[in-house]
């Protein structure tokens, strides 16, 4: 092993910063107890902003003997994770105060989960992959059960823990198989060994187990069973957090693992991803139709979105990764905004979660209704809203890779999906108004919802920064580009 050098530390500077800041904030919390929850939340946001600066000004390269890697792809995904975590934390301020969840551990747990996600995104070795994943997961298990006096919340936490542990076990088993048959855990070495012609069947079995474990983390069908229950049971700000930041990190990790060390086995994992994508899109579309609880509906919706994201991965090209990066950015905005609207659903100081509770919202709170309608139409993929562009780039990649079946299934399930999204618009706009929600909804929440709505509505006007970032991210993975794919088709 080579010695620790300064450049190693520079590569992981954002992670070190998050770890140190997290421990410091934990200390502050311990000594001041729960009075300072608000202060610690604020400080966590500052920590995130500084981490964002560090991430985007960092060096590119590998560190710690190839354990971690830092590149444009990682920077883009980490930025998304930070934005997602930061916005959901901001939205949770009002909730934790009202619901008696005002404990300083909450922002600190979010911070440590974010650290885990950073390591996941940067992982360049099966060891660092597992460390990042577990760090993230353990923090999330606690978050899910954070309302410890609430039966649903503790149940959600336990369910998530047990099923998550099974998935981690599968992943670990796969990793050990891969190590056993190749003798290395380093992504770079694996990429060389597995791109040869005679790949042992054991390594392929390992690949399947690793893919299954990661599919659980992104809640792709058939590893989605935990999602509706956990989404429904967990405290709403936690669910909001679940639906964005960990998803981005897990998708990024899946991309890194499949295109990096297992890049040579593209033909094998393409089938897996293809199947996961089709099943997720179908289940996401049809499963949501019968839901009456909006949190459960959003769980199925997120399963559907994962299906669309996997369409881009099944293409296996830089185009596809580009599409995924754009999709994730757009999904982040839509999702955070929608959860913000759900957080505003309060009546007589209590959260309400039924879709029917939204009836006539366009009269009692036109601003909130308009924002939620924008998110719903966007999730349905109606142009000119942002969601359309996410689907556009993903399907473009699929068509370019010759995956017409996937593209057609995708667009047709998006029509089924449109049915339940516009059903929410129908409830808000066509039905007679019920009792109004509590007002005001809170300053932070209004800002987050307004910002997400503006992004979703006006994305088409100026797509530059997101598209440029996504393009840089997808190119840094060194996959085939559209030009090469095209010439391959022509040959």
């Amino acid at each position: 092993m080579n010695e620790l050098s300064l450049s190693d530390l520079q590569i992981v500077l954002p992670e070190i910063w998050l770890a140190l800041a997290g421990m410091a904030l934990l200390m502050v919390g311990v000594f001041t107890s729960n009075r300072s929850t608000r202060l610690i939340t604020g400080l966590t946001l500052v920590v995130f902003i500084i981490a964002g600066v560090l991430v985007n000004s960092g060096l590119d390269g590998t560190g710690f003997g190839g354990l971690v890697v830092d590149d444009r792809f990682g920077a883009f995904m980490k930025t998304l994770v930070l934005i997602g975590a930061g916005l959901t934390l901001l939205m949770s301020l009002g909730f934790i105060r009202r619901e008696g969840m005002e404990r300083f551990e909450f922002p600190v747990l979010i911070l440590f989960a974010t650290l885990g996600m950073f390591i996941m995104v940067s992982a360049n070795d099966l060891m660092s992959l597992y460390i990042g994943l577990e760090m993230q997961s353990l923090a999330l298990y606690v978050c899910a059960a954070f309302q410890r006096d609430n039966l649903r919340s503790t149940e959600a936490g336990l369910k998530y823990f047990v099923l998550g542990a099974v998935a981690s076990g599968m992943l670990l088993y796969g990793a050990s198989l891969v190590y056993g048959f190749t003798g290395t855990t380093s992504f770079a070495d694996l990429a060389i060994i597995l791109s040869g012609s005679d790949v042992s069947i054991g390594a392929i079995v390992g690949l399947v187990f690793i893919a299954a474990g990661l599919a659980f983390k992104i809640s792709a069908v058939p590893f989605h069973m935990w999602t509706p229950d956990v989404y429904e049971g967990a405290p709403t700000p936690v669910t909001a957090f679940f639906s964005v930041a960990p998803k981005v990190a897990a998708v990024a990790l899946l991309i890194r693992v499949l295109t990096g060390p297992f890049g040579g086995l593209f033909a094998e994992w393409q089938q897996i991803v293809f199947l996961l994508a089709v099943a997720s899109m179908l289940l996401g579309a049809f499963g949501a139709i019968a839901q009456s609880n909006i949190k459960r509906l959003m769980a199925y919706s997120s399963i559907g979105h994962v299906g669309y994201i996997l369409v881009g991965l099944a293409a296996g090209t830089a185009e596809g990764i580009n599409g995924i990066a754009i999709y994730l950015a757009v999904y982040l905005a839509m999702s955070v905004g929608t959860w913000g609207c759900i957080l505003a659903m309060r009546r007589q100081q209590r959260m309400v979660e039924d879709i029917a509770d939204l009836s006539g919202l366009s009269r009692s709170n036109p601003g909130l209704a308009a924002a939620l309608a924008i998110f719903m139409f966007s999730m349905a993929g109606i142009p000119p809203l942002a969601g359309f562009f996410g689907k556009f780039y993903v399907f473009l990649a699929a068509v370019n890779a010759g995956l017409y079946t996937l593209a057609v299934v995708g667009v047709l399930t998006s029509v089924v999906g449109a049915f339940y999204y516009i059903r929410i618009v129908k409830v808000m706009y066509f039905d007679e108004p019920g009792d109004a929600f509590d007002r005001p909804v809170g300053r932070e929440l209004s800002w987050v919802v307004g910002l997400s709505a503006a992004f979703t509505l006006l994305f088409f006007v100026y797509t530059g920064p997101v598209l440029d970032g996504a393009a840089a991210a997808s190119q840094s993975l060194g996959l085939v580009t559209i030009g090469e794919a095209q010439s391959a088709v022509l040959e």
Partner: protein, 501 residues
């Protein structure tokens, strides 16, 4: 110099909508009135702009005019690229004419959420004009599908008792078609490497790929037109939509299907077009005869006119797919004529619906005794719908038949029966509603059309008569573009003939 005129026509309504959003006052009546006035003035200015475009338009060339081209998504070469030619110009004019009419006819009929209503109509206008001007496929698709949102809300919020069912049916039917169009668009982008419509027209796609692309586009346009058997959303949407919604739906939205065939299917996929012509002929003939028979049996006036729309649009698709000069010009002329006439017929229904609040034919009769002016106006549009010489309907149908006869006598023969059936159901409707004894109590105090209603009926009557008596200014403008279109398809026809021999 004039390149910004089209953008002005597209974005002025959107600016107007933003302006209406910003109207705030505690008095609801003041807000409603200001919203109405803003929307009316905004749409009238757009109308002036569009007429200016028509005046400046050079009818001697088939090139796109008023072209504006800006980078939009440079990484993919997707541009904000707009312009009009002889085919799209009148559809833009149609949209600009009908929007102020819609706003005027909703002046008193809509009392509920007036502000949102006017915003929805202005957004619709901008999107409609945008669809007909877009010269980039992605831009076209954006306008094409974005229209679903305001139309869904117009039907669902201000519609009749079964509005929710109708709104969902409209939305989902149209979306299924549109997403297949999206796949076709992505494929064409991949193969040709561009989304510019003029460049795609020149590309020349391989014949077997053309068929798949053609079918995917057909799914979208056939639902929009609507062609039998994809028409079932239309009667529901028309019956449940408020009057102005029906006007826009029949007047402009249905034309997007025909326009799609003209702009995409014919020039980009000529071989597939020739291959699938028998299919279109068959569906059009079925539409003309079957929906005319269905219209005959309707008891609801709006439903009757909705079915007559399907029949009339059958003539349009028939004309377009004759692939010769007269047929295509007839198809376009028929689209314009139907746009005005069916819109006006819905307005006629709206006038008596506002007074009596029913659309059942049996609840009327003898209106001529109380409403002579209304009877006259209704008669003009009824006869135009039947295709009486001297009205706009005649010119379109006549040209379509001239075109069809050159291609296939049997098809022409069958299609003519549609004219007879059309006369039957329209005249019968008119007799039952307007003539006869005034038996129903509530009709004895009904008032004739007022000044506000006349303000939109008079221009429409004049347009219908002018288009019927002196069609040259309209046909002359589209001539060069249609000639160019026929020239693009001709090689494919020749090749099919050669293969047939």
């Amino acid at each position: 110099m004039t390149e910004w005129l089209l953008s002005l026509a597209i974005f002025l309504p959107l600016v107007g909508a933003v302006f209406i959003i910003s109207i705030r006052n505690d008095d609801k009546a003041v807000v409603a009135n200001n919203a109405r006035l803003t929307a009316l003035w905004c749409s009238l200015i757009v109308l002036v702009v569009v007429i200016a475009i028509w005046v400046i338009f050079d009818s001697g060339t088939s090139e796109f005019q008023f072209v504006e081209r800006r980078d939009w998504i440079p990484a993919y070469g997707i541009q904000y690229y707009i312009g009009v030619d002889g085919i799209s110009l009148f559809l833009v004019v149609l949209a600009a004419v009908l929007t102020p009419v819609c706003i005027l006819c909703s002046w008193e009929a809509i009392q509920n959420r007036v502000k949102e209503y006017m915003i929805a109509f202005l957004i619709m206008e901008g999107l409609m004009i945008g669809v007909f001007c877009a010269l980039d496929f992605v831009l076209f698709y954006l306008f094409f599908e974005a229209m679903l949102i305001p139309m869904f809300l117009i039907i669902g919020v201000w519609g009749g008792p079964r509005r929710i069912y109708a709104a969902f049916k409209f939305f989902l039917y149209t979306l299924v078609g549109s997403v297949l169009l999206l796949v076709a668009m992505l494929t064409m982008f991949f193969v040709a490497g561009t989304t510019s419509i003029p460049e795609l027209m020149q590309h020349g796609f391989p014949p077997d790929m053309q068929r798949w692309l053609w079918l995917a586009m057909f799914a979208s346009f056939a639902v929009k037109v609507p062609m039998w058997p994809f028409h079932t959303w239309l009667p529901d949407a028309h019956v449940e939509a408020p009057t102005a919604g029906s006007v826009i739906l029949a007047g402009v939205l249905l034309k997007m299907g025909g326009y799609g065939f003209l702009r995409f299917s014919l020039p980009m996929l000529p071989d597939a077009t020739v291959f699938f012509t028998p299919l279109i002929y068959t569906l059009s003939i079925v539409a003309i005869i079957y929906t005319s028979l269905v219209a005959l049996m309707q008891e609801d006036m709006k439903k009757l006119i909705a079915y007559s729309s399907v029949a009339h649009m059958g003539f349009v698709t028939l004309g377009i797919f004759t692939l010769n000069q007269q047929g295509i010009e007839g198809g376009i002329y028929q689209m314009l004529s139907h746009g005005i006439v069916s819109a006006a017929l819905f307005l006629c229904v709206g006038v008596i619906y506002d007074r009596i609040h029913t659309r059942l034919i049996a609840r009327y009769g003898g209106l001529v005794n109380r409403m002579p002016l209304y009877a006259f106006i209704f008669m003009v549009f009824m006869l135009a719908s039947v295709g009486l010489p001297g009205t706009s309907g005649f010119v379109g149908e006549f040209l379509v038949f001239v075109g069809v006869f050159q291609d296939n006598t049997w098809v022409a023969f069958l299609a003519t029966t549609g004219i007879i059936l059309g006369a039957a159901y329209m005249l019968w409707l008119y007799r039952r509603v307007v003539f006869g004894e005034l038996v129903h109590e509530d009709l004895k105090t009904i008032l004739d059309v007022n000044r506000r209603e006349l303000s939109y009926f008079v221009p429409l009557v004049i347009i219908v008569l002018v288009m019927g008596i002196w069609p040259d200014p309209f046909l002359g403008v589209m001539h060069a573009s249609v000639e160019n279109l026929v020239a693009q398809v001709q090689p494919a026809i020749d090749m099919a003939h050669a293969a047939g021999n």
